[in-house]
Symmetry: none
Subunit: 227 residues, 4 copies
DNA sequence: AATGAATGAGGTTTCATTCAT
DNA sequence: GATGAATGAAACCTCATTCAT
């Protein structure tokens, strides 16, 4: 546990303005907590850290947010909603699985590009493995996975289903995993543009997926057996 | 973090045999620790848990391994070596990028199938985000990523390099991420065979990769058999 | 202590009417606090709970009542007065020790039956063991004990005192303790009528008491009707 | 809550002898904790208090006893066992209800006299109202109540049952309540001998009980209606 | 007359780690 | 070579109480 923690204790960068209206304080708190969580992860941030960063004492945090998990949730929820919304909206107007996949992944990486911290909070690796937060995060991931699955992979051609339920699930998990890992890699150095990262993934995954969902056809193609 | 913990405190399943030769003790300890870490993750295991499970006292653990991180490292190292070795060996005899990819991923999933616990330790999600372990884990992942990169993607066709270094890295990270996520999904239910999971991933990723390494032309290309 | 608490946080059942005359506010506050204390005991109620229940802010509570102890006292006082008054009034018209005892205990249980909450506040088991409240509660109990003592036991027959001061005190404490315990038992299930509970206690204690106050002879005595 | 606490923080009266064998340390801890609990009640004692009193740090307490409740339980259990045992043993050889009652109450008060602190721990008024301790205490009280009920009151004469189950329960609760209250009174000043206190209670309660259980008879007695 | 905002101080519990034998 | 005993340091959370408006 020790190793998770930077003892850098933000020494209240904000001027210790007291007596803010609750809404304002909450906003401020969320902002500070969000930054901290993004930087060090759930486990690497203590309630004292947050309190210090905001310039208040812990009891206030607890009054406003209940407990650490709920504070985290309050930071994560908007990000989660925004991401799913963004992806859904991007996919909505598309008409083919290939377009849906492309649009979805582009949206995913644009979200990452636009709000790195939100993405970090959403894909934090130090989250508790059980409890409220774990559950909620699982929900978000499931939703996105399902999005991938439903929108992209299960739009099967009339010619017939080639994949069963578990294969679709597996593939969705894999694609999301790839996106997440690529996102993490990107955050490490931003060596290429986020858009390019997205395109890279799309162009890598799309052909294989297309072959699969088309069940293999196309005039000039001689697809072999799919798996 | 509390939520990580099963209070089941292994009550020393091993008979408390004293005075073993150090090598034997170490082996035994590693085995027990490995099982524990695989089951509950780094953060979910205390040094007390390990000591109890081995039937030895904590000071001995510290004498032999220095600290918790190094104990974990000692558990992870063999697994890491084995995995890289397995993948390397699988890739070695191949001659084309496509074959290398296929062989590598098959080896990856066979490793997972053969030794779930080793895989879990290697891909634990509760690891500290900084410190010795974090660094070492990063090294392993980098090594495997590089393996994917070197062996698979940079075997470029004579026609010329189409990707620069960072794109290769990015793609490797993505492929590894997909494999990892798929591995995790697989461990959750083993809904399909490990081999099938591998094939699924291969067939999804291979066409895109092949297109790219061949120079990205597409109009006039004659895709061979998929997989 | 945690275990004392129901996290049910009364969500302000009363409409938040502002600017009431102080007297009215106090009445209202007392009522709400009383209900809360009766339900969860002193230790199980926080000032926040009370404030929420009344629909008023904590500073007001402190302005009106000073602190938690005094708030409790303010709740307890009327109950205490009412109980002592009730018992005194019941005893007053009686002429014999036996009658006084019977009347007192019947009044005690009728009070319990009539106002369970007041009784609960008066005989709360989660009270601080020292401080203002403790002292005041002790005073009330002493007063009732004394009532029992004075009215019932010290009405000695002309034949002469058989008991000294401390024996009387002891017996009073015991009788009150029995009544209290019986009251608590009754509240747990109300398995019999409160009156019957009273009669039960009276009939158990009265003969012994009568024997004693009559001088403790027993061989040749002619016990009159029992109760 | 504050009021429960004497801030007198025992400043380690024992010489800070380190490295005691566990058994010894446990004994010592139990002793200190027992004394503290007896003096200030469960709620009035913090783990820090206990640790200070023993001259160790809290983690040791937690290693040996698990948590505060279990530490209390460890203090209470022997006392509880001893008391029930004492009472049972006292009652065993008796043959009549009256004798059983007398023997039981004498034993109860002798226990109190012999070990005031144990009695205080057993009849602490600051216990949590729910949780392990609460349950265990309830068990002990129920056991003793049942003892009173079974041994004393339900040994009914052939002539016929006069009381139903709930009346017996009620009476048992009342008698135990009387004993407890008398015990508490006694502890306040020890104004009379414990034995005398017991006799006082016995002689007060016994006649009433005898009348009841005999259903009213005895050659020279003309018992009126029993309730 | 009343409030919203804020806190000091403490409570239980946990865990990696080290002394002293 | 190995142990039993012990701890420093912190984490989460709560509650009576007061400040500033």
């Amino acid at each position: 546990m020790t190793s998770l923690r930077h003892r850098r204790r933000h020494t209240s960068s904000l001027p210790r303005r007291s007596r803010l209206p609750r809404a304002e304080r909450e906003r401020q708190t969320l902002e500070a907590a969000h930054a901290l969580f993004a930087e060090r992860g759930y486990a690497g941030v203590t309630m004292d850290d947050v309190a210090d960063a905001v310039g208040v004492t812990k009891p206030l945090l607890y009054k406003y947010f209940g407990n650490k998990e709920r504070l985290y949730l309050a930071c994560m929820e908007p990000a989660g909603k925004l991401l799913t919304r963004t992806v859904v909206d991007a996919i909505a107007p598309t008409t083919t699985p290939a377009d849906a996949l492309r649009a979805g992944l582009l949206a995913f990486f644009e979200f990452l590009d636009t709000d790195r911290d939100a993405w970090r909070v959403l894909f934090d690796e130090t989250l508790p493995v059980s409890g409220e937060v774990a559950q909620r995060v699982a929900e978000y991931r499931d939703r996105i996975t399902e999005l991938v699955a439903t929108a992209v992979l299960s739009q099967l051609p009339p010619s017939g289903r080639v994949m069963d339920r578990s294969e679709v699930e597996a593939l969705s998990a894999a694609v999301l995993g790839a996106a997440e890992a690529l996102g993490r890699w990107w955050l490490r150095g931003e060596a290429i543009s986020a858009r390019k990262a997205a395109e890279l993934l799309i162009s890598t995954v799309e052909p294989g997926l297309r072959l699969r969902t088309r069940g293999g056809r196309s005039s000039d193609e001689t697809p072999g057996k799919v798996i």
